[in-house]
Symmetry: C2
Subunit: 415 residues, 2 copies
């Protein structure tokens, strides 16, 4: 049901609008500039700014002349006014970050993924305590802990549901487990969703219109956003593309079809192809996620070092991924595709030119507009930074949908 806007709600919404505007103006903005850019009255802006200063999120800076009027006091985000923690649980590594109010990474810890949920919770508790200690940040200044995990997730229960990429994590109450282990409020989301939120929040500020995030790590996934907002789906499980067929003659998938993108782009497939082609030695260990990840690194290094067979394997993989991206970009009429995730840094030099070329040649909408292809502006730890961004995003980003009811409340566990 659509709801009208009444004053208290508009107050909260407008406060987020002003804070967001201050955050997006790193060179400072005056109260009158904020009034002009937000459409609010100068009086309303002044009241909101007073509240934001009292909360410690905004600070006054120098006075600066604007036109012929009297000099105005510049306002800036107080990046150290609050903090958020983020954790990305990946089959290969657990990455934890501490970010400030502006989403900048202050501390990070990357460690091999321990065996099982209990050990992961202990590791996260240790990592978060260590980061706060190193940064000299008090626990009371932390807004919460975001967790990015492979899907599917059950947000109401705060669990991951049999994620195919995490053995032994069936129905594990990740949210409550980490809330108990760390003592922080916890918000859970899928890895690809978190990564897209990081790009929207901290990364490329030009992600207008419809954009995609192609996540490549131990698995692949695609997030869709429109005008800065993630399309999270009916149960916040959007992003599954594993069975999108991208090669009629590709590897056989468990579903019975050939060339599904999940199996085609899996490290296990690339490593098996590399072993079969003699790029990697027979007997290369490839039975655990971290062994496969190490073998993938060797394959990428061989290609970078000029091994034509290795390059060929990655080029075929790039064309398959490009085919998948082309189909999804046409479906949602995307103008931008951002690539990222744990495997991206290694794959980027091999994938980027191929994906750009294939999109320009094959997209149905190529006559209407080009599709820009970018690497993540957030970088290697986009999953963990995204997890932390979930906390910031949930608290600070104005949501039109929040204004008219039907808010997609994100389940938060209080320890």
């Amino acid at each position: 049901m659509r709801r009208g806007t009444n004053l208290p709600r508009v107050g909260g919404f407008n406060q987020m609008v002003v804070l967001d505007q201050v955050r997006r103006s790193p060179d400072g903005s005056s109260r009158s500039e904020l009034a002009a850019s937000t459409g609010l009255s100068l009086q309303a802006v002044s009241n909101i700014v007073a509240r934001l200063i009292a909360l410690g999120y905004v600070v006054e800076g120098e006075r600066r002349a604007e036109g012929r009027g009297k000099p105005r006091t510049m306002l800036y985000l107080e990046a150290q006014g609050a903090f958020a923690l983020g954790v990305h649980i990946d089959p290969v590594v657990v990455t934890s970050v501490l970010v400030d109010l502006d989403g900048r990474t202050m501390e990070k810890v990357v460690e091999p993924t321990p065996d099982g949920p209990g050990a992961v919770a202990d590791a996260v508790a240790g990592a978060t305590a260590a980061m706060l200690d190193r940064a000299g940040v008090d626990r009371s200044a932390v807004l919460g802990l975001g967790v990015a995990a492979p899907g599917p997730v059950d947000l109401a229960a705060g669990t991951v549901i049999r994620p195919p990429l995490l053995d032994g994590w069936d129905e594990v109450p990740v949210r409550d487990l980490l809330a108990a282990a760390t003592g922080f409020d916890v918000v859970l989301d899928k890895d690809v969703s978190a990564a897209m939120v990081a790009e929207l929040w901290r990364g490329n500020r030009m992600l207008r219109g419809t954009s995609l995030f192609f996540y490549t790590g131990f698995g692949v996934a695609v997030a869709v956003a429109h005008d800065g907002e993630l399309l999270a789906g009916s149960s916040r499980n959007a992003g599954e593309v594993g069975h999108l067929v991208v090669d009629n003659d590709g590897p056989l998938c468990g579903c019975g079809n050939r060339g599904c993108i999940g199996i085609s782009a899996a490290p296990s497939t690339l490593v098996a192809e590399a072993v079969a082609a003699g790029v990697l030695p027979r007997g290369t260990p490839a039975s655990t996620p971290s062994e496969l990840d190490a073998a993938l690194t060797k394959l990428c290094r061989a290609a970078a070092d000029g091994d034509a067979v290795a390059s060929g394997i990655l080029a075929v993989s790039a064309r398959r991924v490009a085919r998948g991206i082309t189909v999804v970009a046409d479906l949602v009429d995307a103008g931008v595709v951002v690539f990222g995730g744990p495997a991206w840094a290694r794959l980027a030099p091999h994938y980027l030119p191929v994906v750009r070329r294939e999109l320009a040649l094959q997209a149905t909408l190529r006559e209407v507009h080009a599709v820009e292809v970018l690497g993540s502006a957030v970088g290697e730890h986009v999953g963990a930074v995204g997890a932390a961004s979930l906390v910031l995003d949930g608290l600070f980003t104005p949501r039109p949908s929040g204004l008219v009811g039907g808010v997609a409340t994100r389940a938060v566990a209080h320890p």
Copy 2:
């Protein structure tokens, strides 16, 4: 840039919120019920209702007791308070409709698609004049004419861009052509987008969360909506799925791959298979869209009459379509799929059970939630009704995005 809400904008937005709420309450609502359901003050609702009554869009009805308070006057949408025209330009037929403010179809004209844009414009001018005359509706009560056409479209120019399904329509300025021919304001959109808007506006009122519309006519397309709003894409050309591979061993597509859904589900493919299998006689005319459409009708009739070979051809087609829907539903985490379009009535009995079964068996998210599969609630002329709904939707549906700037203004041609 996010903008705060200021009073004049909220006034317009709230007026739409109230009108929408009245429209969604066919059993009537009182001013105090509207205040409760919209979150607006009783005074604000009373002022808005006075304006809506003056505009002729809302009428007062009987007085009804609510609880122990004094009886309240019920308010109803005045469905005859204004009207909209809709036209669907399909390769086989041109369908024109006249709808009232509630989106109900009052008149319709269906005619074989004339040859070329000029002849189509003349036909539409004749059909709209005839419908208004039959319904006794004055031109001044018509809010505008919506046009649904095969994509891609260039909304800024009001043109269709080389639609593969309409020969001789390269860069045709459809919007200006129809505005000149009919004298009405014209809004242009893609057929699949119009159809989804019709479902959201007039059809299934339970399309919450993320939903899909699978359009099946001379071509296929898929629209995505979230919480009642169409995801139209960067250039309003979302919906292209033609090259989604749904069968490794399917028919060869012009793109070089096998089993793209566009070629797999095309009437030409089904008819060719039927001729090859002896279901349709050799030499069945199949060179024009209307000949192919007639042959498809014969194939569906044969299947309905118990021809097992005909049923088998449609079952294979249904499995291919189901595979495509499964992939898209997983990508966007859809909870509902609505099928419709010109070919749907004939295909429904063959497609529905197969699509339901395959989604339940194959969707990656099947363990998280079921995907409901429905036929269009609007019916056979969903494209034309959708085109008319574009006019109503553009004028009456409150859009959170309209409140915070970045409005996707729909280009409207004034004659």
